[in-house]
């Protein structure tokens, strides 16, 4: 449909119906659940082609403010252009800016595009037929209408959240054109948008099209962005009343890698827009471009994952097109090209390679990730080079596990890198080793090596070649390690972990960035009625409150097993220390050590553990597995470090039970040597001093040397 004149409300609806009818395999009409005050049913469309799964979504909003008519026209034209280009295998040209058929194909086949072109049909109809209008048309408190873009649940109650020198009477006055409504999401229009975001959890980008001012904007809108302290954030009540003033102590937190991403995306949108006919838009953060924003769509979308970690991160953008609300038709036609190019560019950004390494088998690459942070199935250590890693590690539904690291020899690491974008890409992977630790703080990382991985397929994964970890030395926790893998490329850069200096930042960083993962998993052979001793490190961060908790979970152990935690007395001497289902026991000859024994159910919590920033205290976990343990079974024991009620990381110790009569070889802990079962020294040793092995080879693989007197 050629533009001119402006589309009316009925035409916008018909345009979507026609698109769904004409392109049934590419366009789906979505009926939104909430009727407008005047009883109108709103619709959106979903554009997608091909069978790719796990597609990121892009949500386009237009017509939020009644008088800003062109937003709907832009989105209807965008929908029609993309569909026609894909169906006809052609490119798209917006005056001086062209996109190839391959680019359109990539967008359609790797994204879900949700287009909601007429958010506020009641308002638009009134404005197009009666008089100038901005809000919706719901009567309330003797006035009519609520400003939809002040009605989202993000810093909605501005008088509470912002600095009191800023006055927001216009948000609270029902007769004001910017009245924010009686409560967040009080309006059918905002409820419809929330419904879209909730119903289509793959949505990863949103763009809200407004006029006027010629601006391209990205989050945040309440204050200047900062990436140095994650506790200074919109959802921290301690900062209520401090937001909204430039160049002061408050800045809204955004991870640097997210900040760089929104800047990069906005600049690319602008470059595309400029190429159309040289129109100049300013690009920047919402707060810097239009001042304080309360209850707006872009900020709400980006806030969702912070408010509820089960929500996907949605990068929020806003566009203010043109220089007047209703540009004359000749100019509006040009603007449709300007913004059309910017929107195609946004889609290309959204469909670009998005690299990730999984935190756990349940991790699908969505940011933020939920579940365990420290059990990456994609980081695989082997003592020897694997002949055919593609076959051995090719089933990503399985965790191939890791060998126990061999001290003093070369070990080999493989990493599975996933790409959830719509385009194949190369990447670099960097590997680090840390002592076995409950929190794999960057201060503990030691660089191993990096490796290039080429041609990671769109929507697929690739296994790196072996990274040699030469001549491994004991980091203080024996052959128990934490391995960290970080990946990136130009379009999805390696994140800078240097900013992590607080416990809160660490958890958010690990969950919020899918380019990084680590594996904390260790194995230990143990005799029934024998002991396993696992050394590990806890790590402090710079924090206002340096209190951590440590949870021990050995509930899977057989009855009458026992767990003890040992460390230097000074780490556990604080009066504030609290023991839950644990008690301190005296141990002979261990005057400088605290020994905490876990209760009969083998689960207990140590609360309010404090230590300074530089400290990395060494702990030993002593696990006595009872005689009832079954030969050949593995018994997991978890050690979880937490902060402020949130898990920071965990170690999983897998105890492999081997019966004495099935253990022809035993390692004597005190000399670290392998002995025959019949050896006199082994016969005299207590069970705590012995590690059983079913064969010599596996003992040697674990890094133990043979005892020359016993095994010549």
């Amino acid at each position: 449909m050629p533009f001119e004149p402006y589309l009316n409300v009925a035409e916008i609806e018909s345009a979507m119906e026609d698109a769904a009818t004409n392109y049934p395999s590419l366009c789906t009409l979505i009926t939104l659940p909430n009727l407008t005050y005047n009883g109108k049913t709103s619709h959106a469309v979903k554009l997608a082609a091909g069978s790719a799964t796990k597609r990121p979504g892009v949500l386009f909003l237009g017509g939020t403010h009644a008088r800003e008519w062109g937003g709907s026209d832009i989105l209807v034209a965008f929908m029609e252009n993309i569909l026609a280009a894909y169906a006809g295998s052609t490119g798209l040209t917006f005056q001086g800016k062209s996109y190839t058929a391959a680019e359109i194909k990539r967008i359609m086949e790797s994204l879900d595009m949700f287009i909601f072109p007429d958010v506020n049909p009641d308002g638009k109809e009134y404005c197009q037929t009666v008089a100038d209008w901005r809000k919706n048309r719901r009567p309330l408190s003797g006035s009519i209408g609520i400003d939809i873009n002040r009605n989202y649940d993000i810093l909605w109650d501005a008088n509470v959240y912002f600095d009191p020198t800023l006055t927001f009477g216009y948000l609270y006055n029902p007769s004001s054109s910017a009245y924010h409504g009686p409560s967040p999401f009080s309006e059918a229009e905002t409820q419809n948008i929330k419904w879209l975001a909730d119903t289509y959890p793959g949505i990863a980008y949103s763009v809200d099209i407004h006029s006027s001012g010629q601006k391209l904007m990205y989050v945040w809108g309440d204050d200047e962005n900062q990436s140095s302290d994650s506790t200074i954030a919109f959802n921290n009540a301690a900062y209520d009343g401090q937001r909204g003033l430039p160049a002061d102590a408050y800045g809204e937190f955004i991870f640097d890698f997210d900040h760089q991403k929104v800047i990069r995306t906005a600049n690319r949108m602008y470059n595309a827009l400029f190429a159309v006919r040289g129109k100049s838009y300013t690009v920047g953060q919402i707060f810097n471009q239009v001042g304080v924003s309360s209850g707006s769509s872009a900020c709400y979308m980006f806030s969702r994952h912070s408010t509820n970690p089960s929500h996907r991160k949605v990068f929020g953008f806003g566009i203010e097109f043109g220089q007047t609300f209703q540009p004359v038709p000749a100019e509006m036609k040009n603007i449709i090209d300007d913004i059309g190019a910017a929107l195609v560019e946004l889609c290309l950004c959204a469909s670009e390679p998005d690299l990730y390494i999984r935190d756990s088998l349940a991790d699908s690459g969505v940011e933020p990730s939920a579940g365990s942070l420290s059990a990456s199935p994609d980081i695989i250590v082997r003592k020897n080079v694997v002949a055919d890693p593609a076959t051995e590690f090719g089933d990503i539904t399985v965790d191939p596990g890791s060998d126990k690291v061999e001290i003093g020899n070369d070990n080999y690491i493989y990493v599975r890198i996933h790409n959830q974008g719509g385009q194949a890409c190369d990447a670099v992977v960097r590997l680090y080793a840390a002592p076995l630790t409950t929190t794999c703080a960057p201060a503990l990382w030691n660089f191993i090596d990096e490796v290039d991985v080429t041609a990671i397929p769109a929507g697929g994964f690739k296994i790196s070649s072996a990274v040699t970890w030469p001549n491994v030395i004991d980091p203080g926790t024996g052959n128990h390690f934490c391995i960290v893998a970080v990946c990136g490329n130009t379009g999805d850069p390696i994140p800078d972990a240097g900013m992590i200096d607080s416990a809160g930042d660490f958890v958010k960083f690990m969950r919020s960035c899918n380019n990084i993962a680590y594996r904390n998993l260790t194995f230990e052979n143990v005799l029934p009625d024998g002991w396993a001793i696992i050394p590990f490190v806890m790590k402090g961060f710079r924090d206002k409150k340096r209190e951590y908790h440590l949870m021990l979970d050995g509930t899977a152990l057989p009855p009458r097993s026992r767990i003890e935690l040992r460390t230097a007395k000074r780490w556990l001497s604080a009066k504030t220390l609290k023991l839950e289902d644990m008690r301190e026991v005296k141990a002979r000859g261990l005057d400088h050590e605290s020994v905490l024994r876990v209760g009969g159910k083998n689960t207990g919590v140590l609360r309010n553990v404090r230590f300074p920033e530089a400290a990395a205290p060494l702990f030993h976990l002593h696990i006595r597995i009872s005689a009832e343990a079954k030969h050949g079974r593995e018994y997991p024991v978890q050690i979880v470090q937490g902060h402020d009620g949130e898990e920071m990381g965990r170690i999983t110790v897998m105890l492999r039970c081997i019966r004495r009569d099935k253990s022809p070889y035993l390692v004597l802990r005190q000399d670290g040597r392998v002995h025959r079962a019949g050896c006199a020294r082994v016969q005299k040793a207590r069970a705590i001093a012995l590690m059983p092995y079913p064969d010599l080879e596996s003992a040697l693989r674990d890094g133990y040397k043979v005892d020359p007197d016993c095994l010549a």
Binding site: D132, L166, T167, F168, N173
Partner: protein, 91 residues
């Protein structure tokens, strides 16, 4: 007899601080469009808005203001460019 709506003017106002935006925006019937805000020469802020004519008289004594148009006349003019049919149903 229908009450004639109050006449509103489309203005460009020059301000010197963001706080002034809040102050003006809180006046009854005033709409300032922060998307039109431009900070020029490091100290002056230009912003557009719709302002009732009676408030314009007050503001004009304090700020440098340029009138860009009459809001309802602009809207009437724009309405001429709105489709009066459903072109999708005439195919």
């Amino acid at each position: 007899m229908a009450i004639k709506p109050e006449q509103r003017l489309w203005l460009r106002i020059r301000l010197t601080s963001r706080q002034e935006i809040s102050t003006i925006q809180n006046m009854e019937g005033v709409e300032l469009f922060r998307s039109t805000m431009r900070i020029i020469d490091g100290k002056n802020i230009l912003i557009e808005g719709y302002v009732p004519k009676r408030i314009y008289e007050t503001l004009n004594k304090k700020y440098f203001i340029r009138i860009l148009g009459d809001v309802e006349k602009l809207n009437e003019e724009a309405q001429r460019h709105v489709s009066k049919t459903n072109r999708y149903r005439q195919k």
